[in-house]
Symmetry: none
Subunit: 194 residues, 4 copies
DNA sequence: CATGAATGAGTATTCATTCAT
DNA sequence: AATGAATGAATACTCATTCAT
């Protein structure tokens, strides 16, 4: 029993939110899965929503850190873009649960303005799109790229990367795009033609 | 009373499924919104799931028809791709509800093998990717395109289009990619360089 | 379509009341089984209770008639008792449905003073016990029997006959008493010893 | 608050099942009668069926114990039969509720093969009939009895005892057979004639 | 005689949460 | 830190019955 009961609750909840969805996971299911009684959930957390928030924040923080940790000094700006794709591919493969948690529970909550998901989704967009935009601008400056409407291209690349991860996580193998091909695709779009 | 009560139920349900999600929409909410009594839901449909299925099938059939109706004879193959992007942009703008219904309710249900959503999502993928792949192959043959791993590129374009629609539907204006920019982006990738 | 729809309803109801019990038979089930729409039930009958009453009365009238029709002139009084047992055995075998209808639906309704079942059950007791009592008294007078507390013996024989039919109708073969043995049993009790 | 709420639920349920029948007893009625809220029923039991099962098992176990406890050593075998009748008479008088519960709810459920009632009814038959049969065989051996088809006579006595209890429990006084007369009736059938 | 549409009142059951200990 | 007992509010769904035609 290395894990604390509190951690048990978080782990069990994460698993259930992924496999059944937030709405279809009951506090009783969580308690049973975590080998804990229901009132203990309320001792450690404010309620079901709070458990979800904690989990989603943890997941996001790890993700944010991973992006932060991407190499800042690379030979080319394109390498940075490629690294971004690689990171997402790796997350989809190594932590599919974390990705799923986000992808399958958040959409239906997005409409509620002040929901945890909305905040985080916005942060993620902000973070990734500013990463991409920096690359594009730097690349254009170096004549490595020749990309015109920088902001629009940023958004489109953001689309591409998000959906790339979504498909890797939620679809059948035959519909999962290949990482290398995706990187080449980006190269074609970005890299200035001689 | 121009609309039949049955149609009222479908309309009210669609609206609520979009705004609250399937799980957070109660049969009572549907009945009230449709200005109908609850038992009538069960007279016309087998239950909440059945209402959802009917709606999602209707939405999908309209979508499938719209793709079917895209012009078959165009000057260039690229025009077909552009048309596909335009169609999705148009749907996101003119029928955001239909798009949302699909995008916000299906993900959490995808795990259940035989769920309506899974069937339909697969059909959509099949349909759109075979449309794209035909274009790419024809374009390559005509030397209009010079696209190498045809299948992978197909998948990536599928990603792009799906997420393009998703972002137009679910995100704030400032994160919505512009249609014309997206088409130009595709052109850059696809059209053979002189 | 030899049978009228009204008769269809009665037949279907009888079958369902037997197989599912009155409370577990819905008007919809009856309508479907009778290949009729629900409102028609209310055209022909006042409601579910009324259908039940009609059926139970029909069944009882047939039963009462059968008892009425038992031979009045027999060599011995005992023969009349034997005939009574034979009749019940025959009903249990030839019209198990009618017997079941009565046996499985009435008990839980017996408590409600003015229920159809109570009326009929009382009539049946009155009828059968007066039949038995006449036999016993006549048999005693003729010295064929030597039965002392006539009224009590009547009641006990009533018990025996009722439960005999119940067991033949509702229990497994191995618990069904044999008719001939039952008659011999009665003979032993009733017939005066030389 | 001498009784636990769990016991309150069982008591209230038993009373209601007897007075209204299982199908006509709602969980709300039970909760109100037990001065408890509805969800508590589901905290202590799996559902309405489970409550019924628990009660019927309790009742049966008491009954089985009472039969077990009947004196094993008696002067005559007939005394044992008489004791059996006395026991049933006593139960009908002292615990009419328990008897009614069984008699009025089980019949309509008997058709469902694996229902609690069927299991228990079979056990009761097995138990009582093996008790009777042992007596008859022992009595025959001792020449106390002179009973010929032992098995059939066993079944008929089982009939007699079951219906005796049923009538004592469910019918009007004037149709309730007298215990002593029933015992004498049995004596007449069983005891060998000089 | 017949029915498609509709409903008031309910019906077993569930759920997130709290309380007393 | 932990739990057995308890609940207010709901939740999908059902049923006998009726109405308009």
């Amino acid at each position: 029993m290395a894990k604390s009961k509190k951690q048990n609750i978080l782990d069990a909840s994460a698993e259930l939110f992924v496999s059944h969805g937030f709405d279809n996971t009951t506090t009783l299911m969580i308690a049973k899965e975590a080998r804990v009684t229901e009132p203990l959930l309320y001792y450690h957390f404010k309620g079901k929503d709070d458990i979800f928030s904690k989990i989603i924040h943890d997941v996001f923080n790890e993700y944010a850190q991973a992006i932060e940790d991407l190499p800042k000094n690379t030979d080319t700006e394109f390498e940075k873009i490629a690294n971004l794709v690689r990171l997402h591919s790796q997350i989809a493969e190594e932590h599919p649960q974390s990705a799923m948690l986000f992808l399958s529970n958040c959409p239906s909550k997005l409409l509620h303005e002040h929901h945890t998901c909305r905040d985080i989704l916005e942060k993620q967009q902000e973070m990734v799109s500013s990463y991409i935009q920096s690359c594009l601008e730097a690349g254009n400056a170096k004549k490595e790229f020749d990309v015109h409407p920088v902001e629009q291209t940023t958004l489109i690349l953001l689309c591409l990367i998000n959906e790339f991860m979504r498909m890797k996580t939620t679809r059948k193998k035959r519909y999962q795009p290949n990482m290398q091909a995706t990187i080449e695709f980006c190269r074609r779009v970005l890299v200035a033609r001689s």
